[in-house]
């Protein structure tokens, strides 16, 4: 199809689809009238059952923890897939790993940027760690924390060079950390099986009172592993793309 034809066909089709979709949406109870029961039952049970006050984390890591296993492995698989697709191929040479390479089209980082980035790295790490460790209490969790921790390494890149970034996160090590994160989550789940409990059951003591950082058993532990996996996955993906941009020179056409 030519672009014009496509536009016409799509215009007609999307009008139909939109009408159809709106017809379905009009059957919903109005906005603000969530009918339950799923969410309300969880709100009722969660604090009592898990000692977590962050109910979303309780759902993510406990009631629907199995979804999160799948989700972590989606990210894990995507990182592996990115590594496969962007691997250094025959005929491609790695350019000498100096950032100031001749055809580098990014201007060298200014001193001010380096300074700011360095200043920010510490606080960012702290925030990432805090987010990862407070899943059970506050609006936070391993996922957000992991991304923030990965951002800290990107700041290291801004402050220094790719070489430093690479030294901080050698691929094999990051791979291993990522696998530890994803595998650790699945393994915590499996550990329930010899105890005669269902997969992913919360078998750790729940702690003294709801809302404490040390409360709610496996939720905190799972959040930690999710943080590892997510952080490592983002570092891997960013690293692969950085390597493509800065180091790889194309040999074949």
């Amino acid at each position: 199809m030519t672009p014009a034809q496509r536009r016409w066909v799509f215009g007609v089709a999307v009008a139909g689809l939109a009408a159809f979709y709106l017809w379905g949406l009009s059957g919903l109870p109005g906005f603000g009238n969530y009918p339950g029961p799923y969410g309300f039952v969880i709100l009722h049970l969660a604090v009592k059952q898990t000692f977590a006050t962050g109910i979303v984390s309780a759902v993510n890591f406990e009631y629907r923890g199995f979804d999160t296993v799948g989700e972590e492995f989606i990210l894990f698989t995507a990182a592996a897939g990115t590594a496969v697709v962007l691997r250094v191929l025959r005929g491609e040479r790695e350019r000498s790993a100096v950032d100031e390479a001749a055809d580098r089209d990014v201007p060298p980082t200014s001193g001010a940027v380096r300074m700011v980035a360095l200043l920010f790295t510490g606080p960012v790490v702290v925030v990432g760690w805090w987010l990862t460790s407070h899943a059970q209490t506050n609006p936070s969790g391993g996922f957000q924390g992991g991304v923030v921790l990965a951002t800290a390494l990107i700041l290291v890149y801004l402050a220094g060079e790719f070489l430093v970034f690479n030294r901080f996160s050698p691929v094999a090590l990051t791979d291993a950390v990522e696998a530890l994160g994803a595998g650790g989550f699945a393994a915590i789940g499996v550990a329930a099986v010899p105890l005669g409990l269902a997969y992913l059951s919360n078998y750790l003591p729940l702690g003294q009172f709801a809302g404490a950082v040390s409360s709610s058993g496996t939720i905190a532990l799972i959040s930690f592993f999710v943080g590892l996996e997510v952080g490592a996955a983002f570092i891997l993906i960013t690293g692969e793309l950085l390597e493509q941009t800065l180091l790889i020179r194309q040999g074949d056409g």
Binding site: Y34, F76, G81, V84, V85, A179
Partner: protein, 611 residues
Amino acid sequence: MDQLLALALAVPLLAAAAITAIGPLLGDRRRLLDGVAIAVAAATTVMLVVIMVRTAGGDQVYWFAGFRPARGVAIGIDFEAGSLSAGLAVLAALLVTAAMTFSWRYFERVATHYHTLMLTFLAGMTGFCLTGDIFDLFVWFELMGVSAYALTAYRPEERGPIQGALNFAITNSVGAYLSLSGIGLIYGRTGALNMAQIGVYIDRHPPDGLVAVAFLLIVSGLLIKSAIVPFHFWLADAHAVAPTPVCVLFSGVMVELGLYGIARVYWSMFGQALGHRAAISHIFVTLGVLTAVVGALFCFRERHIKRLLAFSTISHAGIFLTGIGLLTPLGLAGTAVYVIGHGLVKAALFLCTGVVLHRLGSVNETWLHGRGRHLRVTGVVFTLAGLGLADLPPFVTFVGKGYVDDSAWAHGLPWVMGLFLVCAVLTGGAVLRVAGGVFYGLGDAPSEDAEMAKMASEETSETESGKERTPLTMIVPSAVLVACAIALGFITRLGPLVQAAAIRFQDQAGYNATVLAGAHIAHPVAPAAAESTGITLSDVLAGAGSAAGALVLAFLALYWRRLPLLRRGYEPGAGLTAPIQRFQSGVVNDYVTWIVLGLACVGGVLALVVR
């Protein structure tokens, strides 16, 4: 509580993580990794077989983290293993094992990520088969998808794989998000994610727009995955370029999983609430027949062996959708048996194609003509599998096809039977034409157009070609798969067993009771009198007829130019697809346009029905 249900999923996932962590430390000793990965896949197969055997006495339910439903409200996620879902998972695991065994000597060098991706793919398929939660279904659907996209682009140094993977990933992602929209709609109405619970809740209202729209949206992602016309365009692009062992999984089971998802969603949630059974059946049968015919026509004119097999898969997906869409136990049972048979023989065909690529370095039928004479074992296996694809008794494919035909007949759709016979002759004939030409050098090399030659000559770096011998690990899996397809055909109890399983699968009230109330439903009601369980003489004749027809067609195609009386210069199959050829443009923008148009059309029909 059967812990195997959780382990069947956790073991491949843990193994995938472990292989990624340990792989780089092993250096050159990658055989160890190969061995571990194959062992894990085989162990998963065994676990799933055990689960399947146990489901013969009744469906198994597993609540993750031990959250059982209280007063009909599910707060956790469940696995619900029936015989059909567990059986499909077994097929997936078996094919993964076969494909990984085949890969042992196939790739020049395998990065550790290959095993990781195969194992996450396996876990995604297993989870998709067994889950009883609609959002969980989406999660495993995505895991399956992401693994599959990455595996398609496993050879990024070539153009084809990158383009195929892009088309595959974009179309299927659009489908997944449409499905998720449907899930959001149904959640807004019912406040539930457990499929059984949703089924109970939406049945309380008369069917309305929300139910119809949610149904179509959820199904749309699955229709795209199962390559139903007009959502099928991505499939040939992706299948032709993915590494051959991966194609085994794509054609043998991934497409079928999409169809399984449609059946699961229909019979656990929407069947009762949506009503209008006749109209829904008509919609599915229409789409299915259209797909079967389009796939068969494209298949016959193709010269690129992997694309040819891919189009044959599209044709069969159409037949499967029709079998499901008849909404009868016999139709569903027939589809289930047919899916198993098709998966086995199609996998064998792809593996043999892999051997050809390994030894001769091409998948171009024209170029290969007569050059495969010395690959005797491969030739025999390929030919047998081709006959199986054409439903020759006693291959198990003929049992399944027979049931679907019988059900269509009982449904008052005899023309569907005839059309499917034509489709089977066309796809079987195409495959047997390849067998006769490549492995036995019969007749003349078929002509080709430049476009196809270019496409077929692309397959180069996948394997180190020109090997002197075919390693045993490459030929044994395909021979075993074909042997399985024949052996299953002799198990006379298979038919009644699968029918009982299909009746249980379609028993929505029973499914609800099993999941939500922990009921144990062991014995399905007796099959309806109108639909016999036996294999009739007409089934045998139809199967033998389609195989004979396929053989005749293959010979006609090969000896076409030597037939004195016929018009010269006309190439068989050349004009068949000209009008629709240009739709297969390879441009993903077009594909998404067709998806939207297809949805709008089916949605319009559905709106007229449900209104």
